[in-house]
Amino acid sequence: MNAHATHAAAPDDALDAERFPTLTGHGRRMLDFLRNHPHAPVYRNRSGNRLLAHEVEAQRAYEDQILAAPVGWTPGTVPDWVAPFVAHVFATVPHYRALGSPPRRLTDVAPVGRADFAADVAQFVPDDVPLERMMHFRTTGTTGHPLLIPSHPVVAARYAAYHKRALARAGIAPAAGRGRVGVVLLGCQRRCFTYVSVSPAMGEAGLAKINLHPDDWRDPGDRARYLDALAPEIVAGDPISFAEYLTLPLTTAPRALLSVSMQLLPGLRARLEARFGCPVLDIYSLNEVGPVGVFDPAAGGHVLLQPRLYVEILDAAGRPCTPGQAGEIAVTGGFNFCLPLLRYRTGDFGALASGPDGPVLTGLSGRRPVRYRARGAWINNIDVTHALLPFPLSHFNVHQRADASVVLRLAAGALPWAGDAGTALARVFGTRVDVETLEADGKTLQYTSDMEGAHDG
């Protein structure tokens, strides 16, 4: 065993029984392989699937069920399961119980937002959820307010069902099993939660969350060596980690890439597809809801993934928008039984359209849209996106100052495109665009403005 490749803190294998209740010798060997490989990174944390034997069985059945279930509603038509769901939530969730009787119509439920969860998320946890195995996911979002999302090992495992549904759209059925590595999650940050695990519902296939930041490795060259040794079937990450992933001299390629947490621009997507010769799925996912949709260019947006998630588009007053109109995405239902959602305002914006495979979120934007002043008129941030499409940017920020001057901020790795991207933006704005280095680690607000009226569009 190579000491450098092991957990930085004292070993606490006693807790492995809790982390891996169903671990077999095969799973143990996979964990050892991932942790102790000579090119392994420093694993800074420990985690595990925590699934009990009966939950592993249930997970397999759940995956089959989610793969087959239709989304079954059209925009603006509330599906039949919502009314009993609302009644159950009003009977068992303290926040809603205090409101009285369950309303007859979903639109009578006052929407809630992140601030309501942040104030006291305990008010949103149903009475019948046992707390012994409750855990949390911490999210800071783009607003910077930390929020603990109640969750459970079963809920975490269910993510796979929705990712498999997304992959099925691309014709891929994950098949990794015993002795193979199923998923590698990539991060690329100075500080990153990293661990190894196995997926018991998939024959204890390996799962590793690694940080591509060079500080986590003895030799930056180990990153490619280790990933080639693991040869994961699926690689998940975000545009920042994928931009780094592209630079590695890998000899293997996964069957698919899953991109989450930030908008994946077509330029980067095209480079990833060309480099690895596999589908790149852009998943719209958030901690409070899980995977919501997967981008499908043919459908013109993100096709919804959760059969039991009803999506509305709301205006600023919380009223439903007319079909096709853009507004804030609000969701009802979900698969996290620790946090059932009733008209939860996500803080993300888009419109809803009908597609052949169910509803499609179009024009998804991570934040309230910003409009820019260009050539004496207001333009949409979508116009700015279009101008930047040709460039493989992982993350960026376009900011308009109060005096209407414009600055494009690019990650250090994207600076080779600074000249061309700046020129493309200058054509849109009709003015010179300053280019600066983007100093950010994690999520970036892509569109910002200090101009009066920028958020009134």
């Binding site: 809790e18 982390r19 944390n45 985690s47 595990g48 699937n49 699934l51 009003f90 303290p94 119980r97 205090a98 409101l99 009285g100 009787s101 369950p102 309303p103 007859r104 119509r105 639109t107 009578d108 006052a110 006291d120 998320v121 305990a122 008010q123 946890v125 009475d127 707390l131 012994e132 409750m134 855990m135 949390h136 996911f137 911490r138 999210t139 603990l148 109640p150 969750s151 090992p153 975490a156 495992a157 993510y159 796979a160 990712h163 998923v183 999650l185 991060g187 939660f193 695990s197 799962l207 969350k209 699926i234 998940a236 899953l258 989450v260 947490s261 996912s285 958030l286 901690n287 995977p291």
Partner: protein, 194 residues
């Protein structure tokens, strides 16, 4: 509770037959369909009474958490007070407004409004509480009997409320503790991280 009031069975039967429009969504903070103040005003007119606008202020809601269930219950009570037996008794504007506001305020924290229509026990509780507020006793009961039974149902209600409130506080504390546990940081696997 000195005056004879309507028959209790008749009142609870009327509650059980509350029409859907009296169980519809009260207007609170821009949402809802039934303007409760307008329904109260209609009830007063039915009783031959009138009210100034400011007297109807308690029947307009601004905060769903504080007002929604209370106003939903006002609608149910208004339906009950429109009963022929109350019209004959003509309690007057002040007593009607006091009964609507006071009984709703008292009973709303204990149960959602629809339970006072659907549950036998809650129906009796509402009917007795309303009669007492109007200084009436159920037809055929002595003042002592009426007082005893009201004390029994309202005592039970207070015990229930107290127990529910303690349980809710304990549960919220346990959830916060469960979320804060160190082990929770080492959360289980997800295929992706947002």
């Amino acid at each position: 509770m000195n005056d004879d009031g309507p028959d209790l069975d008749g009142l609870t039967r009327r509650l059980a037959e509350t029409p859907p429009e009296f169980l519809d969504e009260p207007v609170v903070a821009g949402g809802g369909r039934v303007a409760v103040a307008a329904v109260v005003n209609d009830l007063l007119r039915l009783h031959g009474a009138r009210a100034q606008l400011e007297a109807l202020a308690p029947f307009a809601g601004t905060d769903p958490r504080a007002d929604r269930n209370r106003l939903a219950l006002v609608l149910v009570i208004a339906w009950l007070l429109a009963d022929e037996n109350f019209l004959v008794l003509a309690p007057g504007q002040a007593a009607l407004l006091d009964a609507l506001a006071g009984v709703a305020q008292e009973l709303a924290p204990a149960a959602p409004a629809h339970r006072y229509v659907e549950d036998t026990e809650r129906r009796e509780e509402l009917a007795r509480t309303l009669l007492a507020r109007l200084g009436l006793r159920p037809y055929g009961e002595t003042p002592a009997q009426a007082a005893d039974r009201l004390a029994a149902v309202s005592g039970e209600q207070r015990r229930r409320l107290l127990a529910a409130s303690r349980a809710a506080e304990r549960r919220a504390r346990e959830i916060r503790e469960a979320l804060a546990r160190k082990a929770a940081e080492e959360s289980a696997d997800k295929w992706t991280r947002e």
